[in-house]
């Protein structure tokens, strides 16, 4: 941990602000977990983190530095921006996993782009098949909506059933992510947990897109 740029006391918790003299620190290279004074863990006490976010927000707020030096104003703005980014990322359990894995040097999501063939990371063929078929049905539904026709009741019923099934799949994926996250936090079999989480995140993108698109189309129909 660094020392306060103003009073020289060792910084505790978030490196954005000095617990001793209250000076906002110049933003240095750090990570979102450190910004919120957290260990790099996937399991978080959401309410406690939120309280810490609000506490830091208030103390770093640019309004408090309206009459401070130019440097302090700049520090306050930069620290507030960083704090907001950190909170937005870590509050979401899925983004938290992606962020932590990247931080630990794993290639996640778009990071794969162009490297390694996606063939090595293909989802199970039956999932792909189902995603494709549902997209075909969705397209049919959208087409009839555009033509101002009443949607085929059978198609709508199929899609409503699919929405339920895929929403449940999304829940399963998220539950599995939490379980693997706990394994990661436990420190045993981290490489395995990471590989499994990357796989789950890949799978999640298909399912998420589909749930989103189906919901959107069904809302238009309703």
């Amino acid at each position: 941990m660094a020392d306060c740029a103003q009073c020289g006391v060792a910084l505790q918790g978030s490196p954005l602000i000095c617990g001793g003299c209250g000076a906002v620190q110049p933003v240095a290279a750090t990570d979102y977990f450190a910004v919120l004074g957290l260990e790099r863990r996937l399991g978080l006490d959401g309410a406690a983190v939120e309280r810490e976010f609000h506490r830091l927000s208030r103390r770093l707020h640019p309004d408090r530095f309206a009459r401070a030096s130019e440097a302090e104003k700049q520090n306050s703005l930069a620290a507030t921006a960083l704090l907001n980014d950190a909170w937005r990322t870590l509050r979401d359990p899925v983004e938290r996993v992606e962020y932590l894995l990247k931080l630990e040097g794993y290639a996640v999501g778009e990071e794969h782009a162009g490297k390694g063939k996606s063939a090595e990371r293909q989802p199970p063929p039956d999932l792909l098949e189902e995603v494709f078929e549902l997209n075909m049905q969705l397209e049919e539904l959208r087409m009839s909506q555009r033509m101002g026709e009443t949607a085929d009741a059978e198609v709508v019923a199929d899609l409503a059933a699919a929405e339920k099934r895929f929403a449940a799949m999304l829940n399963d994926v998220d539950a599995a992510l939490v379980a693997e996250g706990a394994r990661w936090d436990g420190g045993q079999g981290r490489a395995e947990a990471a590989a499994r989480m990357i796989e789950l995140l890949d799978r999640r993108r298909y399912v998420r897109n589909l749930v989103r698109d189906v919901r959107q189309s069904l809302t238009v129909t309703a």
Binding site: G109, E110, H112, A113, G114, K117, S118, A119, R121, Q122, P123, P125, L128, E129, V131, F132, N135, M136, E139, D202, R203, R205, Y206, V207, R208, N209, L210
Partner: protein
């Protein structure tokens, strides 16, 4: 991010959208997904059993403009080629032709994967060994 003119052209006027009869032995089907974004792409080829020339190619892609353009271009390119020639199409050729930005390179990878998957499905159906085709190249 702005799409290149070529991407826009393929997106607005996609070539060879459609379906071929999956059950025919002359047709190979490749269904692949891009885990980076959740896009899915199906590419089908109809191969002349005598000449091994790809006489027809169709695609259907659910995804972004770059994924649609990449698969549209892929169907244009494989048509008229032999199976062995089609396997030589590289995703980097697609990137160059469509001027894809780095974040969209995975769309071209997906199109290359789709070509390979379709050819490999056709080979499996027709009992052509993978190694045989490599030797023929």
């Amino acid at each position: 991010m702005a799409y290149s003119d070529k991407v826009v052209d393929h997106y607005n006027n996609p070539r060879n959208v459609g379906t071929l009869d999956k059950s025919t032995s002359e047709v190979g089907t490749g269904l692949v997904g891009a885990p980076e974004c959740g896009d899915v792409m199906r590419l089908q080829i109809r191969v002349n059993p005598e000449t091994q020339v790809i006489e027809e190619a169709k695609f259907k892609t659910f995804g972004c403009g770059s994924a649609i353009a990449s698969s549209s271009l892929a169907t244009e390119w494989v048509k008229g080629k032999t199976v062995a020639e089609a396997l030589e199409i590289k995703n980097t050729d697609i990137v160059k032709e469509l001027a894809l930005p780095p974040v969209k390179i995975h769309c071209s990878v997906l199109a290359e994967d789709a070509i390979r998957a379709a050819i490999s499905d056709w080979k499996k159906k027709n009992g052509v060994a993978e190694t045989e085709a490599v030797a023929a190249q």
